[in-house]
Amino acid sequence: MKLKNKKIMTLFALTVLIAAFGLTGCDTADEAANTDGERKLTYWTSLTSTASSLVTNLGDTPMMQKAQEMTGIDVEFIHPPQGQVNEKFNILIASGEYPDIIQYRWTSYPGGPQKAINEKIIVDLNTLKEDAPNFFSYLEKHDEVRKLSLTDSGALFSFPFIRGDESLLYSSGLIIRQDWLDELGLAMPETIEEWETVLTAFRDKKNCKAPLSMNIGHFGQVHAFAGAYGVGIGYYLDNGQVKYGMAEDGYKDFLTLLNKWYDEGLLDQDFSTLDSTTMDANILNGNAGVVQGSIGNGIGRYMNAAPDDTYQLAGAPYPVRNKGEVCEFGAMNTIIPLMNNAFAAISADSKNQQLAAQFLDFGYSQEGQMLYNFGIEGESYEMIDGYPTYTDLITNNPEGLSMSSALSMYTYAYDAGPTIQDKRYMEQYASLPEQKEAWATWSTSNMANHLLPYLYVKDDEVNELANLSNSVETYANEMTTKLIMGIEPLENYDSIVEELNNRGLGRILEMKQAAYERYLNK
C-alpha cells in the first residue's frame, strides 16, 4: 500500500516537473548565418495593430513580397508581441545580438540616438553613402529633413519616415457638428465671441451636456483657443526663441476663458477625467458639439458610425481674436513623425550592412515610393491619367475590410516605414467631402513658424532634462486643470508661474534653446 502510494507520488512529482519545464520551453530560433552570395537580411520591427489583425508577419503582406522580389533580397522579419515593443526592444539591446535592421523610435533611446551610435549598437549611415544613393540625394535636396535626421555630431542614425508634402503635416483640428449649426442658423464660428455664442446655443437649444468635450491633452494637441491669445500650449518657437506656453503672457486669458466656460457648462464637466472613448461617445450621441480629432481617426470614423443621415461634421478653423485673422497656432506634425516605425537603423555588428542599406534605400527610389504608398499596380492601384488611383480592393474591399486595414497589406503610408509619404495617398484616404474640407481648413494657421523640430539634447543633459520636464509638466498639468475648474483661483496664476520656474523651467528652456541653435547650425 505504502509502496503504491510512493509510486503515485513519484509519478505525480515527475508530471509536475515536466509541466513546469515545459512551460518555460525555449523557442530558440535558428540563427540564419549568411553564407557568401546569399542576399538575406533580418529585420526587427513592430507590426502595427492594424496589420497584425490580418497577418502575423510583415513578410506575408503582398507589399513586402513584392519588395523582396524587386530588390532580390530575402528579408526575415522579427516582431515583438503587440503592446510589448518597448520591453522587447530593451531586451533586444541588452542581449547584445542584433538583427541587421532595427526599426524603432530611436529618438527615445536613453541618451538619444547619438549614444546608440557611440555604444556601437547602430551604425552611422554616412559610412554607407554609396549604398543608399536615393536616400542621400533626397537629403541633399531637402535641407530640413537633413537637419532633422542628423544628430548634433553630424551622424545619421536611421532611414526615417518622411512626410513628402507640407499638406501632410496638417491632419487634425477641431471638429464641429455642422448639422447643428445649420439647424440653429449659425455660421461657422471664427472669433472667441462667436465660439461662445455657438457653444451656448448648443447647450441651451440642443440640450447638450458637454458642448465642448475635450481634456487638457486634447487642447494641447491642437493649441485651440490658446492660439487666439497668441500663446501655444507646451513648448513652441516664437521668433527663434523656445517658449513654454504656461509661462507666457496671454496664457492667463486662455485659462480665464476656459474657467468661465467650465462654470457656465460650456466645457465638459468631466473635463479632467475625460478619455478619448468618452469623447468619441459624446460626439456621436449628441452629448458634445465640438471635439478634437483627425481626418481619418476623427471625422472619417465618426461619419462611418453616424447615428442618422442628417448627422454632419465639419472641421472648424482655429479660433482667433478678430475676424479675418489667421491663427498663429494649430495642430501640425513634424516632417519626420516620432513613431515606432519611423526610424530604421542598421546595427553596428551586422555583416550585411551594405545589403541592408540597399534594401532600405529602395523605399526612397521611384519604384519603392510607388510600392510603399500605393502597393502593386493592377492589384491595389491603377494608373489613371498619370494618377495612382486605389482600386476597389482598397477603397471598397470585397471582404469588408476598412480602408486602413486594406492599406496595411499594401502600403507603409497608412502608418510609417522607411519611405516618403505621398500626398496622393492622403488625397484618396480623405475620401469624404467633409474630410477634404477639414484638411484644407486645418492647414490654415501659422503653426509652421512655431513648431519645434525634434531636438537632440546633449548626452549629459538627457537625464536632467527628463527629470525637470517631468516635474514641470506634472505640475503644469495639475495646475492648468485646477485653474480651469476653479479649484485654484486665477489670482494664484503668478505664483504658479513662479513655482514652474522654481522647478527648473528656465533650465529646460535653456537646454532646448541651445539644442535648437545647434539644429539651426547643422
Binding site: 513546469a20 464637466q269 527628463a466 479649484i487
Partner: protein, 313 residues
C-alpha cells in the same frame, strides 16, 4: 505529512538529511519547481537593484553601466514632489489597512454563521466575483459610476451640491479608492479566514452551548481566538506591504486635478521609468520603497513576538 511523521526529533546533520532525502526524494523533487521559481523570479532579479546606483544603459548591461553613486536617490529626495508622494503613499496604505483588513474577517465570521447552505454559497460566489474581473475593467466601471451622470456620481453630487465627476474632487478620491478596493477583494480575502474557521473544533461549540453561550459569546470566546494566529500573520504581511500601493489602479483612476491626493511613490516611479525611460532613477525610488517595507515588516514582527507571543519567525 509524510515528512513530519517519518522525521525524528533531532533531524540535524547531513547524514540525517541524506537519509531523509533518500526516503522522500519524490517530495523534494516536487518542491524543486517552487524553489526554482523563487530563485529565478525573486532572488535572481534582486541584483537588478544595482541599477539604482548606476547610470543604466541596456547595451552596457547591469555590470557595465557607469556608477552614479547616490545621485539617483539625491534627485528623488530633492524632487519638489517627494514629500507629497511619500505622504500620499502612507495615507492611502494606512487607510487601506484600516478599512480593508478587518472587513474580510467580519465577512468570514458572518458567512460562517449562515446556516442555509444555498444562501451561503450564493453570498460567497457573489463576493468573489469582482476578484476575477480585470483591473482595467474594474476601473472603467468605477469611472463610469462616479462620472457626473453615473449612478453614484449623480447622487453624491446632488447631496453634496458639487458637480463633475467625483474623481475630479480631491476629497472623494480616498473613499472611492478604499470602497472600490473592498468591493474588489473582500470575498477573495475572506477565503483564508473561512479555511481557518473550518478547522475550529466543533466540540468546543457544543460544550459552550451546553454552558448556555449565545452566538456572540461563542464568536468572541471560541471563533476569534481560534483564528487569531491567522489574523496576526496576515496582519504582519499586510504591514510589510504598506508602501506598495498598487500603481495600476492609481494610474487608471487618477488625473491631474487630484494629483495632490492620489500621486504615490509607485505612480511617480511609473511616470519616471516608462515615460522618460530613466531606469536608474525609477529603481532608486523602488528600492527606497522596498527598504521601508522591510523595516516595517521587521518592526511589526518584533512587536507581535513581544506582545502576542507569535510572529512570522
Amino acid at each position: 505529512m509524510l515528512v513530519k511523521t517519518k522525521m525524528t526529533k533531532e533531524s540535524k546533520g547531513l547524514l540525517e538529511w541524506r537519509k531523509d532525502f533518500k526516503r522522500n526524494w519524490s517530495l523534494y523533487l516536487m518542491f524543486l519547481p517552487v524553489l526554482l521559481f523563487y530563485i529565478l523570479f525573486c532572488y535572481k532579479p534582486m541584483y537588478g537593484a544595482l541599477i539604482a546606483f548606476k547610470n543604466y544603459t541596456p547595451k552596457l548591461g547591469f555590470m557595465g553601466s557607469p556608477w552614479a553613486g547616490f545621485e539617483n536617490f539625491r534627485m528623488f529626495f530633492d524632487s519638489p514632489d517627494f514629500i507629497r508622494v511619500f505622504f500620499n503613499t502612507i495615507k492611502i496604505s494606512c487607510a487601506s489597512l484600516l478599512f480593508s483588513f478587518p472587513l474580510p474577517i467580519i465577512l468570514a465570521l458572518l458567512i460562517n454563521e449562515i446556516r442555509n447552505k444555498r444562501f451561503k454559497k450564493f453570498v460567497q460566489t457573489a463576493s468573489y466575483l469582482p476578484h476575477f474581473i480585470s483591473l482595467v475593467v474594474i476601473c472603467g466601471m468605477i469611472k463610469t459610476f462616479v462620472a457626473s451622470d453615473g449612478f453614484v456620481g449623480y447622487f453624491v453630487n446632488q447631496l453634496g451640491g458639487t458637480s463633475g465627476s467625483l474623481l475630479q474632487q480631491e476629497d472623494k478620491f480616498l473613499p472611492i479608492y478604499i470602497i472600490s478596493g473592498i468591493w474588489q477583494t473582500i470575498g477573495w480575502d475572506s477565503i483564508i479566514y473561512l479555511a481557518a474557521l473550518s478547522g475550529v473544533d466543533v466540540e468546543q461549540y457544543e460544550a459552550a452551548e451546553i454552558d448556555g453561550a449565545g452566538r456572540f459569546r461563542k464568536m468572541f470566546s471560541i471563533t476569534l481566538p481560534s483564528i487569531s494566529n491567522t489574523i496576526i500573520i496576515l496582519f504582519i504581511l499586510a504591514v510589510g506591504k504598506i508602501m506598495n500601493v498598487g500603481y495600476e489602479k492609481i494610474i487608471l483612476l487618477y488625473n491631474p486635478t487630484i494629483y495632490n491626493v492620489s500621486d504615490v511613490i509607485s505612480s511617480y516611479t511609473y511616470r519616471m521609468g516608462f515615460e522618460t525611460q530613466n531606469w536608474g532613477y525609477s529603481s532608486a525610488v523602488g528600492l527606497f520603497n522596498s527598504v521601508i517595507n522591510l523595516v516595517l515588516l521587521l518592526m511589526t514582527n518584533r512587536i507581535s513576538n513581544k506582545y502576542a507571543g507569535m510572529g512570522l519567525w
